[in-house]
C-alpha cells in the first residue's frame, strides 16, 4: 500500500513538472524564440485532429442514433417523441460530444503518442536529442500537448453535430418528424451555456489526454514490455481522468456557473 502511494506521488510529481515545463515552453519561451516549432504543432494537429475525424464521426453518429432510439422508445409511450431533438441536442452539446470525441482521441492518438515517445526513450532517441542540446519538451512533448488542446474542442464541435445528425436520421426515418420540427425543438431548449460548457470541457479533456500520454511515454524505461505498459497506462489513466474531470466540471457548470 505504501509503495502504491509512493508510486502515485512520484507519478504526480513527474506529471506536474512535465506539464509545467510544457506550459512554460508554450507561453514564456515563445517570446524567447524557444517555443515549440509551428511545423511540429501543425503536423501533430493534422495527425491528432484531421486523421481522427473519420473514426470520431463514425462513433458519435451511432451514439446519437442510439440516444434517439432509447429516448424515443420511452417518449412514444407518453406521446412526447417530438422532444427527441431537444434530448439528443442537449446530451450531445453538454456531455457526449466532447466526452466521446476525447475518449476516442485517447484510444487512438494518446496510445500512439505514449508508444512513440516510450519507444524513442528506450532507443535512446530522447537522450540523443538532449545531448544535441535540443529540449525533448520543446521538440516532442509541447507540440503534442498543444495539438491535443487545440484539436479536442474542434473535434468536439464536429462530434456534437454528427451526433445530432445521428439522432435526426432516427427522428426522420422512425418517428416521422421533419427536419425543421427536430431542429426547432432542439434549439428551443438550448442556451449558449450548453454549447460553451461542452467546448470548455473538451479543452480540459484534450489537455489531459495529451499530457497523460506524453507523461507515460516520457517515463518509459526498459524494453518493449515497458512501452506496452506505458501505452496501456496512458489509455486507462486518460479515460479515468476524463470521466473524473467531467464530473467535476459538470458540477461547476450546473451548480456554480
Amino acid at each position: 500500500m505504501k509503495d502504491s502511494i509512493d508510486q502515485f506521488l512520484l507519478h504526480l510529481g513527474d506529471y506536474t513538472i512535465l506539464l509545467g515545463q510544457s506550459f512554460r515552453c508554450c507561453t514564456v519561451d515563445i517570446f524567447r524564440r524557444q517555443g515549440p516549432r509551428m511545423a511540429h504543432v501543425l503536423e501533430q494537429m493534422n495527425e491528432i485532429g484531421v486523421n481522427s475525424m473519420g473514426i470520431v464521426c463514425l462513433v458519435v453518429f451511432f451514439v446519437g442514433l442510439v440516444i434517439a432510439m432509447q429516448t424515443s422508445y420511452e417518449m412514444t409511450k407518453f406521446g412526447t417523441e417530438m422532444y427527441v431533438g431537444r434530448v439528443v441536442g442537449l446530451t450531445m452539446f453538454r456531455e457526449l460530444g466532447p466526452l466521446i470525441a476525447t475518449i476516442v482521441l485517447g484510444g487512438r492518438c494518446g496510445a500512439a503518442i505514449a508508444a512513440e515517445i516510450g519507444t524513442m526513450k528506450v532507443n535512446e532517441e530522447v537522450e540523443a536529442l538532449r545531448v544535441m542540446g535540443i529540449s525533448p519538451i520543446r521538440f516532442l512533448v509541447a507540440p503534442r500537448i498543444l495539438a491535443f488542446t487545440i484539436m479536442a474542442p474542434v473535434l468536439a464541435v464536429i462530434s456534437d453535430y454528427v451526433g445530432i445528425i445521428g439522432g435526426l436520421v432516427l427522428a426522420i426515418t422512425e418517428l416521422h418528424l421533419t427536419y425543421w420540427q427536430f431542429v426547432e425543438n432542439m434549439m428551443s431548449g438550448m442556451i449558449v451555456k450548453d454549447f460553451v460548457s461542452g467546448i470548455a470541457k473538451s479543452v480540459v479533456f484534450g489537455l489531459l489526454v495529451g499530457s497523460i500520454a506524453c507523461h507515460f511515454g516520457y517515463r518509459t524505461e526498459g524494453g518493449a514490455d515497458a512501452v506496452g505498459r506505458a501505452t496501456t497506462m496512458s489509455v486507462v489513466t486518460s479515460i479515468v481522468m476524463i470521466i473524473v474531470s467531467d464530473a467535476a466540471l459538470t458540477a461547476v457548470f450546473v451548480y456554480i456557473l
Partner: protein, 275 residues
C-alpha cells in the same frame, strides 16, 4: 594505433575529470576517477562489461550527476551547471550512441540536418548542402532520402557520426562505436573516426572493449575495472604492461583476476540493490 600520435603536453586540456565518485544504492560504480584529455587527442576508455565505463561517459555528457568530484569540459565545470548554461556547452560536443539513436521518424538527411535546423539560422538550401557534405564525409552520399529502418547497422552508425559532426563539434563522445559490426565495417568505422578526428582536430572519447579498435584509434587509453582506474597510458604502454589484470583483458583470457564467476548471493545482493 593512430598513425599520428599526438604529443599532447603543450595542447590545452579539453576534458578533465577530477576525483569522480558515483555510487548506486551504496555500491561505488565510479571510484575516485581522474582523467585528462587534451585537444585533438583520442582517449579510449577500456574495460569489461559493467565496469563503469558507460556510467563515466554518461557523466561526461551531463546525463548523470556525480556524488563527488568535478568534470571540466572546454574549461568549464559542468557538474553544478544550470541546464540553460549546459545547453550551450552541448552545442560544442557530439555523441555517437551505441545503437546510433537516429530519430526513426526522420530520414537520414533530416537526422543530420536536425542540429543545424535547431541551433543555427542557416537557410534550408545551405543546410541541404551541409547535410550532403557531412553524409559525404562518412561515405553515404545519396542516402539522404532513406529512412533509418532502410539502412544497415553499420550505415546507421555512420549516419549517427555524420549527425554528431554536423555542428563541427570540438569534442565527440563515442559509446561502443563498433559494437555489433562485422570486422570490415568495424575497420571502416575506426578509419572514419581516425580521419574525422585528425582532419578536423576533434577531441574524442571512445568507450569500447574492442582491442582491435583500440589499437587502431587510441592516442591514450584509460582502463577501468570495478569503477577504479587501473591503467592509463598509450597503446605501446598497454601492450608492454605486466599488470595481470591488463594482460588478461588485452589477451582476452578467461582465467585471471577479472572473474566471470559471481556467487548467487552477490548477484542477488546487487540485483536487489539496483531495484
Amino acid at each position: 594505433m593512430s598513425t599520428t600520435a599526438i604529443s599532447n603536453s603543450n595542447l590545452p586540456v579539453h576534458i578533465e575529470v577530477k576525483n569522480l565518485v558515483r555510487a548506486f544504492d551504496g555500491r561505488r560504480v565510479l571510484d575516485n576517477i581522474s582523467l585528462k584529455v587534451h585537444k585533438g587527442e583520442t582517449m579510449v576508455i577500456l574495460g569489461g562489461s559493467g565496469c563503469g565505463k558507460s556510467t563515466l561517459l554518461r557523466h561526461l555528457i551531463g546525463s548523470l550527476k556525480p556524488d563527488a568530484g568535478e568534470i571540466w569540459l572546454l574549461g568549464k565545470e559542468i557538474t553544478r551547471m544550470q541546464d540553460q548554461e549546459f545547453a550551450e556547452i552541448r552545442k560544442k560536443f557530439g555523441m555517437l550512441f551505441q545503437g546510433g539513436a537516429l530519430l526513426n521518424s526522420m530520414s537520414v538527411g533530416e537526422n543530420v540536418a536536425l542540429p543545424l535546423e535547431e541551433h543555427t539560422n542557416l537557410s534550408p538550401e545551405i543546410i541541404d548542402i551541409m547535410v550532403k557534405m557531412k553524409t559525404g564525409m562518412v561515405g553515404l552520399t545519396g542516402f539522404e532520402h532513406l529512412m533509418p529502418s532502410q539502412i544497415s547497422g553499420g550505415m546507421k552508425k555512420r549516419v549517427a557520426l555524420a549527425r554528431a559532426i554536423a555542428m563541427d563539434p570540438e569534442i565527440i563522445f563515442f559509446d561502443e562505436p563498433t559494437a555489433g559490426l562485422d570486422p570490415v565495417m568495424t575497420a571502416v568505422v575506426d578509419l572514419l573516426i581516425n580521419n574525422l578526428c585528425k582532419k578536423l582536430g576533434i577531441t574524442a572519447v571512445v568507450v569500447t572493449h574492442d582491442m582491435a579498435s583500440v589499437n587502431r584509434i587510441a592516442d591514450h587509453i584509460a582502463m577501468i575495472h570495478k569503477g577504479k582506474l587501473v591503467f592509463e597510458g598509450s597503446v605501446p604502454q598497454i601492450h608492454a604492461s605486466t599488470d595481470p589484470l591488463v594482460r588478461q583483458f588485452i589477451n582476452g583470457e578467461a582465467d585471471g583476476p577479472i572473474s566471470f564467476q559471481q556467487s548467487g548471493d552477490d548477484y542477488l545482493k546487487s540485483l536487489f540493490a539496483s531495484t
